[in-house]
C-alpha cells in the first residue's frame, strides 16, 4: 500500500484517519457488532478491503444489511429493506451476542481506563452528576460477550484516558474476574485515537502504546494519558491512509458525507 500514499490535495480528516485504521484492524474478522458512525464506516471499508466476508450485526437487530444509502442511525429503514435477517431484541442480545457469535464489538466511551473498562454514564458523581451521559445501551453486553472489543476515542486526553473512571458502566474482564465471574472474551484489545493505537491482549494485561500517527511522539501520547502508560518495545508509525482507502471511503462508503466531515 505504501506506493499509494495520500496526496496533499485531499487533507485527511480525523474521522477518515480513525475509520481507515479501524478498518485495517478488522482483517480476518468475521462478525462485527457495530453502532452507527465511525464503526459503520470502518466495517464497510473493511468489507471492501481486508475483510470481504465480514458481517455487520446492528444493535437494532439487523444482520446482513445491504443498505441502498448509508444509514443515519442503527435503526435506519434502509438497513431493514433488503437485509438478510431482522431479529427481535431477545434473539439478538440473548442468542447472537450472549450466545458468543460476535468476533469484534465496537464501542465508544467518555472515559476508558488502563484495563479497558468504560464509562458512558456520568461525569462526576452518579447521583448528582456534572454531566449525565446516555448510559450503557448494549455496551455492557458487547464487552461481556464479544471475543474482543475495539474502542474508537476521538479525544485522547488525561480526562478521557482516566487513571480512575468516574463510574464504571462497562467493566473489562479484569473487573469481572475480581467480581468472581469468569469473563468470556478478551475485553478491549484495540483503542484507536487521534494520536495512535493502544493494544491489550486479555485478562491481566494493561493497554500499551503500539503505534503513533506520523508526527506524533511517544511523549505526547504519554502526556495525554491519565495514567503511567506502558509503551511497546517497538512502537511503529501508523501507515497514513492510502489514496485507494480514501477513495473508497469518500466515493463508495460515505459519498454524501453523513459521517465524514
Amino acid at each position: 500500500m505504501s506506493e499509494e500514499r495520500t496526496k496533499t490535495t485531499g487533507a485527511v480528516t480525523s474521522s477518515e484517519l480513525l475509520s481507515v485504521v479501524a478498518a485495517r484492524e478488522l482483517a480476518g474478522r468475521r462478525t462485527v457488532f457495530a453502532g452507527i458512525g465511525l464503526p459503520t464506516l470502518a466495517a464497510e471499508l473493511a468489507h471492501l478491503t481486508v475483510a470481504p466476508e465480514i458481517e455487520v450485526v446492528y444493535e437494532s437487530g439487523v444482520c446482513g444489511a445491504h443498505p441502498s444509502h448509508l444509514p443515519e442511525t442503527i435503526a435506519d429503514a434502509v438497513l431493514i429493506t433488503g437485509a438478510e435477517a431482522v431479529l427481535s431484541m431477545p434473539a439478538l442480545f440473548g442468542c447472537v451476542l450472549q450466545g458468543g457469535h460476535i468476533d469484534v464489538g465496537f464501542l465508544g466511551a467518555a472515559q476508558i481506563d488502563r484495563w479497558g473498562s468504560l464509562n458512558t454514564s456520568v461525569i462526576g458523581e452518579w447521583a448528582s452528576p456534572a454531566v449525565r451521559l446516555p448510559g450503557s445501551g448494549g455496551a455492557v453486553e458487547v464487552m461481556a460477550n464479544a471475543r474482543e472489543v475495539f474502542v474508537v476515542m476521538r479525544r485522547h486526553t488525561p480526562r478521557s484516558f482516566a487513571g480512575e473512571l468516574d463510574f464504571c458502566t462497562t467493566p473489562g474482564p479484569d473487573r469481572a474476574l475480581a467480581d468472581g465471574i469468569r469473563p468470556f472474551g478478551a475485553g478491549v484489545t484495540r483503542v484507536i485515537t487521534e494520536l495512535g493505537v493502544l493494544a491489550r491482549d486479555g485478562v491481566g494485561d494493561e493497554l500499551r502504546l503500539v503505534a503513533v500517527h506520523p508526527g506524533v511522539t511517544v511523549e505526547q501520547v504519554r502526556a495525554a494519558t491519565g495514567w503511567e502508560l506502558k509503551v511497546a518495545d517497538a512502537v511503529t508509525t501508523v501507515e497514513p491512509p492510502t489514496d485507494a482507502e480514501l477513495r473508497l471511503l469518500r466515493d463508495d462508503v460515505d459519498p454524501h458525507r453523513v459521517y465524514l466531515r
Binding site: 455492557v140 453486553e141 474476574l177
Partner: protein
Amino acid sequence: MDRTAGKVMSMREAVAAFVHDGDTVSLEGFTHLIPTAAGHEIIRQGRRDLTVVRMTADIVVDQMLAAGCVTRLVSSFVGNSSAGSLGELRRRIEHADPEPLAFEEYSHYGMICRYLAGSQRLPFYPLRSYAGSDLPSVSPGIRKVASPYPAADGSTEQIYVVPPVNPDVTIIHAQRADRRGNTQIWGLTGIQAEAVYAAEKAVVVVEELVSDEVVRADPNRTLVPAHAVDAVVLCPRGAHPSFAQGYYDRDNAFYRAWSAISKDPVRLREWLAEWVYGTADHAEYVTRLGEEFWAGLAVGEALSEPVNYGRRL
C-alpha cells in the same frame, strides 16, 4: 362473549381508561415505531407521578418529563439517538430542575431480561452482564446469585440477575391490527411483544386497522395476539418523528432540532404549547405539519414475496 367488544377506541379514550396517575407505563419501540402520539395524549390529559419504563428514553420521554408527568424513569439509554442530548432529562438529573427524577439505570439486555421475567411470571432472569460494573451499586435490582448447578469444572458459578418488570400498562405502536387486536409488525420488532405480555393492560396504536382476513392471510406476521391486547387505537403517523417501516421515514431533521429545542427550557415549553397542548389530538398535529412535510418522509415500495401457507385439498 364477543372478543372484539369495545377494543377499538380513540387515543383519548384509551389513555383515559388505561393510564392513571401513579402508574408504571412502558412505552416500547426500539427507534422504530415509537409511540409518540400516545405520549402526547398522556401529556394532554395531565397524568402525574408516572414511572416510565423504556429501553431507549428519547424525545417522547424528554417531552413527558418537561410536561411534569414523570417522577421515575427505568431505562438503558437516555439520549437523543445519535443526534445529541435530551435537555429536560439532563436538567432533571444534573440539577433537579425543576424537580428531581428518580432513575433506575440498566443496560439493554438487562431491560430485555426484566421484560422476559415480567412476561413469564419469573422471580428474576439471569444474564452474563454486570460483573465488575458499578451499575449494581446504583440500581439495587441488579443482584448476584450462585447457580444451583455446578460448572463444567465442578465450581460454583456466580451470575447476575434482574427483577421482573410488570407495568400497569404497556403502549406500543404497530403497522396494523385487526379489530380484536391481533397486531402485525414488520421491520425492527424490538421488545414490543414481551413488553405487552409483561403488562397488566396493553394498548396497541396502529397505522391501519385491517380486516380479519388481512391478518389471517399471514399469521406469522402477528407479533402480539388479540388475547394480550385491551385497546386498539387507529392513529396514522403516530410514531413521528420515528418511522414506520413501509409507511413513512424517520424525521432525522427533527431529531437534530430537538437537542437545541430541549436545551432551552422556555423553548421546549413553547414547543409543547404549540404542538401538544395546542393540538386537540394527533390528527391535528399531522394536519398542522402539512402534506408537503409528509411528502418529504414518504417511502417507496419494496414488497415481500408472498409465501404459500398451503391449503388441505
